[in-house]
């Protein structure tokens, strides 16, 4: 609907009912509160003394701010290990994806070599294959390679993604060839051209790829559940999910864990919302 049509309509309505604001606020404000509420409550509860939670009705704002939840979490769980493991897995995943998917995307977009079409179709094909079909053989394969129950088991599947290769290839196809030809005539290698000329233009795509990989690897649950059994090697997600079962009623402690698990992504989202939205609208292509 157009802005002009809208304002006309709103004026008409405003005239009739004397509403000093757009009626859409009546819908959007409650919905926004509803969506933000779980996050706000999570943060509130993580700072609450136990008495605030267990009284009837429970308080929404803490009567006094306490760090007991975070202290309890540190004392009674391996949360620092989990955080470290998650950071390692996600950092390697993002770094490796940026490098490998850029190289492969450029190769598929610009270089001629035997098997190019087959290779690219194979990669596209994997987007259709769900994790459920892959998890049993991958588990067996990793067991034989003695990779199970190690951080490597979590990292290897995230080294490169079909989504990333596809995304980068599509971007490189859109770069005018003339930009590269000058470099080629000067005798620069393909790697130099990719690094110096093409990649600097690809920042938005690289950002999308990095966010997609970060959120995906940070929040992954089913594969860590299958591949990891030692709680020192847990990521935040599986650590929290299993910790929760054991301490059902210690809410401030559990919510403190939740805050640790979501805060890095939450802050990232609030800072780089535009890039996150671009990633969201493209992540429908993921596998």
């Amino acid at each position: 609907m157009t802005t002009r049509g809208e304002t006309r309509q709103e004026q008409r309505r405003g005239h009739r009912r004397q509403l000093p604001f757009s009626p859409w606020h009546l819908l959007l404000a409650p919905v926004a509160v509803l969506f933000a509420f779980p996050f706000v409550q999570m943060i509130m509860v993580s700072f609450m003394p136990r008495a605030d939670i267990n009284r009837l009705p429970p308080r929404f704002l803490p009567s006094s701010v306490t760090l007991d939840g975070y202290r309890g979490l540190l004392d009674r769980s391996d949360v620092l290990h989990w955080l470290l493991n998650t950071v390692i897995v996600s950092t390697v995943a993002v770094g490796s994806n940026v490098v490998l998917c850029s190289l492969a995307g450029y190769g598929f977009a610009r270089l001629r070599f035997p098997g190019r079409t087959m290779g690219f179709l194979a990669i596209l094909g994997t987007i259709m294959v769900p994790i459920q079909l892959l998890m049993i053989p991958t588990y067996v394969m990793f067991a034989r390679l003695h990779l199970l129950n190690s951080l490597a088991a979590l990292i290897v599947p995230w080294l490169a993604t079909a989504f990333g290769v596809f995304l980068m290839r599509q971007f490189f196809l859109s770069v005018p060839r003339e930009l590269e030809e000058a470099g080629l005539l000067d005798g620069a290698s393909r790697l130099q051209i990719l690094w110096r000329i093409v990649l600097p233009l690809a920042r938005p795509s690289l950002m999308t790829l990095a966010i997609f990989t970060l959120v995906g690897s940070w929040n992954d649950l089913i594969w860590p559940v299958i591949a990891i059994s030692d709680d020192h090697l847990y990521t935040l997600q599986i650590g929290l999910a299993n910790f929760q079962g054991a301490r059902r009623t210690e809410w401030s402690l559990l919510m403190a864990g939740n805050v640790v698990a979501v805060l890095p992504l939450l802050v990232g989202f609030l800072i780089a919302q535009k890039h996150f939205l671009a990633t969201m609208s493209l992540s429908g292509l993921k596998g």
């Binding site: 609907m1 802005t3 002009r4 049509g5 809208e6 309509q9 604001f21 757009s22 859409w24 606020h25 959007l28 926004a32 969506f35 779980p38 996050f39 409550q41 999570m42 429970p58 490998l100 190769g107 270089l111 070599f113 035997p114 194979a122 990669i123 094909g125 994997t126 294959v129 079909l133 892959l134 049993i136 053989p137 991958t138 067996v140 067991a143 290897v156 599947p157 080294l159 993604t161 990333g164 290769v165 393909r190 959120v215 929040n219 649950l221 089913i222 559940v225 997600q237 999910a241 079962g245 809410w251 559990l254 698990a261 992504l265 939450l266 989202f269 609030l270 939205l277 969201m280 609208s281």
Partner: protein
Amino acid sequence: MSLRRPRRRKVRSLRVAEALTGVAFVAPAVLVIVGLGIFPAAWAGLLSLQKWNGFNQPRFVGTDNFSRMASDTDLISAVTHSLVFTALFVPASVVLGLLLAVALNRRIRFIGLYRTAIFVPFVASAAVTGLVSNYVFNPEVGVVNNLFRVLRLPQQGWLEDPQQAMTVIVVMSLWGQLGFVTVVYLAALQNVDASCVEAAQVDGANAVQCFRHITIPQVMPVTVFVVIWQTIQAIQLFDLVYTTTRGGPIGSTTTLVYYLWQQAFRELNFGYGSAIAWVLFVVTMGLTLLLVALSRRQGSEQAA
């Protein structure tokens, strides 16, 4: 001749160099993606014809695993649970996502704030969402039951009640995933022909008529994509079940993929699990192709 030959050789050697560079560029990514994306899928096909617990010698059993599915009542109820979830989740997410997108597609005050609030659950993992669900819907301390108490409505069991647990999972899935649908629709709404809407308004069409006869048909291709995408997501539901109910109470939220995971990694039925996974894959693919075909036909009918 003597001049052209070295040149041709040079061209050929340049080609060879380019091919080598190309192979070197794509090889690492192709190795990882195809090695972990296609090879295991084929292996799962082989496993589906075997009885194997991961330790003993695998035994070839032909199509036994597939015929076993038809008489596995636990599997059938898991499929039912997944279908119930899909039937509730997909229409709700499409309808609400479109409505939210329409509401957010205007320049009013606080719109940035509204958008942020609605999109931010995108970063919440299933573990985070699950824990929040357990708290918000907790029968004793949860805000929902407390609201019910204030309104003098009867207290509910929510995730602890076999009748209600799946509904709570639907609601929390919507919380986590509506943002995605809304973003996709919001992008599509930018392409809705504005002059068309204006012409309709000049002709006296009201907002609801414009929405029904102009907006909805114009975003139809996106709707097809969203329906397919959300259906696949719904059929594959695992994470939120794992972090809230673990399939309970009394198995009422054991979805197809949760059952598959139990069969494979709790009961160690690798063969049977692979057979279920293959059927799941084939059915999902079939469903996707069917939806695409249906939408194509509808599209051509509308054009005609």
